[in-house]
């Protein structure tokens, strides 16, 4: 059943992304102020949502669950690692799409805006997490260190979220999740935006499951290789 769900998830996510692209490019109208440039809104916020809240939120939650003695399990370590890996990819895509939007709007590819800078910093923090995972150590020692590093890095997530309110620099405020919870987008544009959030969240879930499965297979493969090496050494020591 799980296997079937996983196999169905990839194509469903792919179809939803295609549907988002079709709606975003051909069905929704251009914006009064931004014109055709508004079509990036069907990609960029969804990517940012997945990177900031879903991926790094999941990484922080899994890290807490690993550090909590009652729920300590390597499953949470693998899931946190998978979420961070995919989250970093989504962060990079968020910055790239934001930059493509920023060039015609602000006149520059990059500006030292609080939201942009704190997002880039978040990406670097989680790149550090991935670097830490590659340090050779006992799996549990590594898992503990990485869980602590993920929690430190996750402190930046609320800073990124509130940066547009605290500093009020160039980046616009939240369109949907604003302080009054009154979305400033309507009609087909709002539905397409919502669909993009669902589509990219499903892509994220599919990628995390795939990455998790690879990690489980890799660890199992290591164990098999170790057992084979031990058996081979033992066989060498036995006189024939």
């Amino acid at each position: 059943m799980r296997q079937r769900l996983y196999k169905a998830l990839g194509p469903v996510a792919f179809v939803l992304v295609l549907l988002t692209v079709w709606l975003g490019l051909f069905v929704t109208p251009p914006d009064v102020d931004q014109g055709e440039l508004v079509r990036l809104v069907y990609i960029h916020p969804a990517l940012a949502w997945v990177a900031l809240y879903v991926a790094f939120g999941m990484a922080a939650l899994c890290s807490v669950l690993y550090l909590w003695p009652r729920t300590r399990s390597m499953v949470f370590d693998y899931l946190a690692a998978a979420a961070v890996e995919v989250g970093v990819v989504f962060t990079i895509l968020t910055l790239i799409t934001g930059s493509i939007w920023g060039r015609p709007t602000w006149g520059v590819w990059w500006t030292w805006d609080a939201r942009l800078t704190s997002t880039a910093l978040l990406g670097v923090l989680f790149l550090g997490y991935l670097a830490l995972r590659r340090v050779p150590a006992d799996p549990h020692v590594r898992a503990r260190r990485c869980a602590v590093a993920a929690l430190f890095a996750a402190v930046d997530v609320p800073i990124v979220h509130f940066s547009v309110l605290w500093w009020q620099t160039l980046h616009q405020g939240a369109t949907v999740l604003n302080s009054n919870l009154t979305p400033t987008i309507h009609g087909s544009m709002a539905w397409t935006l919502l669909l993009s959030f669902v589509a990219f969240t499903l892509v994220f879930v599919w990628m995390v499951i795939a990455r998790y499965r690879i990690e489980v297979i890799r660890v199992a493969g290591q164990d098999v290789a170790l057992e084979a090496a031990i058996a081979s050494r033992r066989a060498e020591g036995v006189p024939s």
């Binding site: 923090l125 550090g128 670097a131 020692v141 503990r144 602590v148 430190f152």
Partner: protein, 221 residues
């Protein structure tokens, strides 16, 4: 906890006083960074004065990474960690002790760097209170982060490259708040320096508390 902290701080400072690694390697490096920045900006006095706060804090941050490597190296050998465990030292005390020793070293470095920017970059400090308080708080915050991330990066050979990657993004708020408070210290009356000193105080308290709470878990094997 405090007794253990004084013990560890005394040990780390004694080792530094005897080995003189900080004196012969880290302090010359910090001064060298100031010189290299000055070379890259050229001799214009106005440009040097306006860039002095940034250069001061960048030189301090880069040197802190070296101090952090050094501080971790003192705990590095399995024998040292084993004897720390056998002595029954409180991990929170060990963290505080290492933090205090590193803070002392960083304050000495800050004094040297302040003299450096005054002498080399022709900086005139108007509000010493802002400058001194920001330097003291930054030393505490940076030392807490250094000890914590030193423990996180472990004993591997990758530590030399890993530690800056982990530590410098976390220390970014210190750089921003430090530069702003330094700029305020160059103004008559201190400007908005008090607000940025507050940011440094929050940073120091948060990372000191995190270190006291988590250092033991990171040192477990």
């Amino acid at each position: 906890m405090w007794r253990d902290a004084w013990l560890v701080a005394g040990r780390d400072l004694r080792i530094e006083a005897r080995s003189r690694v900080a004196l012969w390697q880290v302090l010359p490096f910090a001064i060298l960074v100031l010189f290299l920045f000055a070379f890259s900006f050229g001799p214009q006095r106005s440009q040097l004065v306006s860039s002095a706060p940034g250069l001061f804090w960048l030189a301090l941050l880069f040197s802190t990474v070296l101090f952090a490597q050094r501080s971790r190296a003192l705990e590095g050998s399995p024998a040292t960690r084993e004897s720390t465990r056998l002595l029954g030292l409180d991990p929170a005390g060990v963290f505080l002790g290492k933090m205090m020793a590193l803070s002392v070293e960083l304050v000495l470095l800050e004094i040297l760097l302040t003299l450096g920017v005054i002498f080399l970059f022709h900086v005139v400090v108007m509000s010493w209170l802002i400058l001194v308080s920001s330097c003291l708080l930054a030393a505490l915050g940076l030392s807490a982060v250094s000890v914590l991330y030193g423990a996180l990066s472990g004993e591997s050979r990758m530590r030399a490259t890993l530690l800056p990657v982990l530590m410098l993004p976390i220390a970014a708020p210190v750089l921003i708040a430090g530069v702003r408070s330094f700029q305020a210290a160059l103004e008559q009356g201190g400007g908005l320096g008090g607000r940025w000193v507050g940011v440094l105080a929050v940073f120091s308290v948060v990372y000191s508390a995190l270190g006291i709470g988590l250092y033991g878990a990171l040192e477990e094997n």
